[in-house]
Symmetry: C2
Subunit: 434 residues, 2 copies
């Protein structure tokens, strides 16, 4: 498969892999020194980076870039300073590499250890935000991984200036600058997705359709989520005030976020009191409600939703009346995206049933879905949010960039001694983990 | 995608999913009682199962079945008794469900828990061995998962009798018998691979080419490995006797196992003494050696290997002379399958370098690669062995059949209070895990 890949991505991947192999065995201190060197180099290159970004922005205006994209593309002194501070913050995080997860005597002198280690090489594909490159490189080096970056075409000059500074910074450290590579063309993205021999994890950061395209076009594991269809369920035993406050937060605080709600399910018993109240508040904040037939009997002026599977990413909220908790759970498991779903109730049994039976990465009781975030969970960093069933699931911190290996040390031990009629028994005695 | 799937697999998957949802919330005791009921029902159906197996075996002979396959197909009283004992042993394992992995206060009254839970529905595709169905069903129920079995065509009658007994046993328990389904045709296998909406993990148990076919034809995560190209490296500082003993064990103890070695790398300094010695012993045991040019200067009567990437699964061993540790590591990382690789050396620095730089699930020092096994590692069960880079990696126990969810409980908490100028800080205080 890799033989057909054009040379630029393949060469980059091979170089990164070789350099990453050496990065993986550096000490915590050596990796943290590299982060400090990167921060310093970015500070020194500040004028050059901002100048490159101005050129990117000017070109984007000529190309008629959309306003939200322009805002993400812009890298002013303030944003750059924050990003550099972020590099130093990553340096302060606990080292995820070298943890002994299992330490077990299999028999006298035969010792098993399960030790965390870097994945190898990460492929990160992002869109306009140039400072994303800075954050990603620091997380990669902290966790001992090489990283191949692919930025959006709008941000090429900015990212080239950033990566140039990063490599300069690494030049004076134990980390080979080859651990970081930048790809800039769409063709290289397609090539990157084919390099399953050299790339261990792809993290796509972009639109839902882009993430889905990546998921469907690579055999490399993908960390990310295409959709964030989150629900808020207002139970029969809901505290109405909590329901209103949380609905407003979960919909309006940052509607473009994946952890914002798209659908509100309301128990029929509380709908006549809850719906008019929440509608007044939400409509005052510019939210457009769309409801099923029963909702529209209470709120006659709203339209129907076209389906229950649209991520509006905007001030629009679909509303449905349900007759029981079980119907709410079934709706969420059918139409949700396994991201984050919340119940508002004062009934602890209903809450327990919801938390047990809703099959999502995040199941919440009496709080906003907007807490679904690696920083808010206290991970110190967020590598991505996964809506897959298998771990890592939900917001993923540095943990998502590491794997483990089993080390077994013996003194001439052979398996034949432990099988058959005179088989020696295993001791399977755990040491205290260090 | 699922809309095009014919009805039998789809119906089975939907039924399993519904039943599994309820299985997931049963108590440890209820799931263990179900295992005991299965063991009892299998004992009661012993004659019927063995009769069905005799019919399968007779039909297989008529079809000219290969001898090793016939042996795997045969289910005598002894094998059945062991399999039933295995069900009860699984009952005694620690419950993998409901562990609180993270228990953290995010702020006063806002509590985060990460709790282990079943994956949902497993799809298990196996070949001739009918007792595999018994083992897999018990592991699935222990871990709270539904399971769709697909057996090889030779074993259909045996597996039907087994699954009938299992369902009868479950009939008297809290577990809905629909959690177990049996598919029997090849068409249903192809359908199963498309049911990514209903099946959370596929575990293929069969030939390398079959596992590779499954990996390349499904979007469902696959737990398994296509190849087991394991290496033994005899270092310059090797204890020659240990090298010979371990080479014999790793090649001849069970040559068809995935953790048997296919290639031996020998440091040039010890080759002249080690190779004639090991060759004599191995050849006496019926092993055919195949060597590169330098090896054949020492052992002139052997042939060359056609490549370094063949899993012989037989009494054949490829041999190559290398000039240094680094060359051995590079060879293993290039041609190995990331399964299990061992170094024989008395030099602790060489061992440490090998264990750090060989990128395999198992890296061994002075012991046989044959220890790579879930039971030998003390997991109490082995669900499969994974050679992927991301976890779970290596031999996988019950842990491979579970995931986790994040539960967050608040009292009206909203994200807006934790952002902006007057942002409340998070406390991020960990409770002692229970």
């Amino acid at each position: 498969m890799t033989a057909q890949v054009a040379s630029s991505s393949l060469t980059a991947a091979q170089q990164t892999r070789l350099a990453a192999l050496k990065l993986a065995v550096l000490s915590t201190e050596q990796r943290n020194q590299a982060l400090e060197a990167i921060a310093g180099a970015l500070e020194s290159a500040r004028d050059e980076i901002i100048k490159a970004n101005v050129t990117d922005c000017e070109a984007a205006v000529v190309d008629g870039i959309a306003k939200p994209l322009y805002k993400r593309l812009q890298l002013d002194e303030h944003k750059l300073r924050d990003a550099i501070k972020g590099v130093r913050d990553v340096g302060k995080l606990a080292d995820p590499v070298g943890h002994i997860q299992i330490h077990r005597e299999l028999d006298t002198g035969l010792i098993l250890k399960r030790v965390t280690c870097p994945l190898g090489v990460l492929g990160i594909i992002f869109e306009a935000r140039p400072e994303a490159a800075i954050q990603i490189v620091s997380l990669a080096i902290k966790s001992g991984n090489g990283v191949i970056l692919k930025c959006g075409k709008e941000a090429v000059r900015s990212c080239e200036a950033i990566v140039k500074a990063i490599k300069q910074g690494l030049g004076s450290t134990a980390v080979n600058p080859d651990v970081v590579q930048l790809l800039t063309t769409r063709e290289e993205t397609l090539e990157l997705l084919k390099l399953d021999k050299y790339v261990d994890l792809i993290i796509p950061r972009g639109s839902n359709s882009f993430v889905r395209f990546v998921q469907e076009n690579t055999r490399i594991p993908v960390l990310g989520h295409a959709d964030g269809i989150c629900h808020l369920y207002i139970d029969a035993a809901a505290d109405i005030e909590k329901g209103v406050t949380i609905a407003v937060d979960a919909k309006t605080h940052y509607p473009a976020a994946c952890n914002a709600i798209e659908t509100m399910l309301v128990h029929a018993l509380v709908a006549p009191t809850f719906l008019p109240k929440v509608a007044t508040v939400l409509e005052n904040m510019g939210v457009e409600l769309r409801g099923d037939n029963r909702t529209r009997q209470i709120l006659p002026n709203i339209a129907s939703p076209s389906d229950w599977q649209t991520e509006y990413s905007d001030l629009i909220l679909a509303v449905k009346i349900v007759d029981c908790l079980e119907e709410a759970i079934e709706h969420i498991n059918n139409f949700g995206s396994k991201h984050t779903d919340a119940i508002i109730t004062e009934d602890s049994n209903a809450a327990a049933t919801f938390l047990a039976l809703v099959n999502s990465a995040g199941v919440y009781h009496n709080c906003s879905t907007r807490f679904a975030d690696g920083f808010r969970y206290g991970f110190g960093a967020e590598v991505g949010i996964s809506t897959q069933q298998i771990p890592p699931r939900g917001p993923v911190g540095l943990e998502g960039l590491i794997t483990y290996k089993y080390q077994v040390t013996g003194n001439g031990h052979i398996a034949a001694d432990y099988t058959g009629a005179d088989a020696k028994p295993f001791t399977h005695r755990d040491f205290n983990n260090t």
